[in-house]
Amino acid sequence: MSLFSSSTSSHKLLSVADGEVIPLSMVNDEAFSSGMLGAGFAVKPVKGVVYSPVDGKVMGVAEAKHAYSIFSDGGLEILVHIGLDTVHLGGRSFTPTVKAGDEVRAGDVIAHVDLAEIKKEGYDTVIPVLMSNIDGSAKLSPRLGYAEGGRTAVLKLTHGGKEEK
């Protein structure tokens, strides 16, 4: 079965928040920066609204409400992980607007986040966006710099998961 059998969707990922897009390798947590969890990018959010990067289906919301898995219509397994080690907040600071099983469109809000509270608790608010079924060693070049959440396209992939230049 091809992961990228859809002939219509371009595998475009939008920024998940307003803020600066950085390479995954710049994330201050080896689990993400090493590519161990998959390839992708990260956003340093300036606003506490988090958007779905793709059209797809919400597969799960972590119990601590900080991580969202979305299966894209194009076959990508996407993990949006809000903040580093924020699992320890036990759900505080996060208000999901979706639940497992929901269909989402790219740009739909998936969560509201209290960035100030997360920072106050001593956690990094950076949001890694991973494609867990694309090898972390894949060299992707996301569009870096300021992006608008739910609007700016950060990555374009061809069918087959290769990057579209």
Binding site: L37, M59, A64, A67, S69, E77, V87, G90, A100, S132
Partner: protein, 88 residues
């Protein structure tokens, strides 16, 4: 077939980091590796992050690793070691 039981010790459960460790270890082997969660019978493919994370295994949960394939003995040993040493 090999199997072993692991009780989740991390107080926040199997979140992204431990799930990633399991997946990376599992990917080293050709054997099929299934993780079954005792409380609800849910199963995950240990080689897929998505799958392992959606188990939502919390602290104290009993997970059974079921491993079958040519290198099952080595895989069982490696994963058991990982669970006990790296996942706490």
């Amino acid at each position: 077939m090999e199997s072993f039981v692991y009780r989740v010790a991390d107080k926040v459960g199997i979140h992204a980091r431990p799930a990633g460790k399991i997946v990376n270890a599992a990917k080293e082997f050709s054997a099929d590796i299934i993780i079954r969660k005792k409380s609800d019978g849910k199963e995950a493919d240990a080689k897929r992050l998505f799958s392992v994370m959606s188990l939502a295994a919390s602290c104290g949960e009993e997970l059974t690793f079921i491993i079958s394939g040519e290198d099952e003995a080595a895989a069982a040993l490696a994963l058991k070691k990982l669970c006990e040493e790296a996942l706490g």
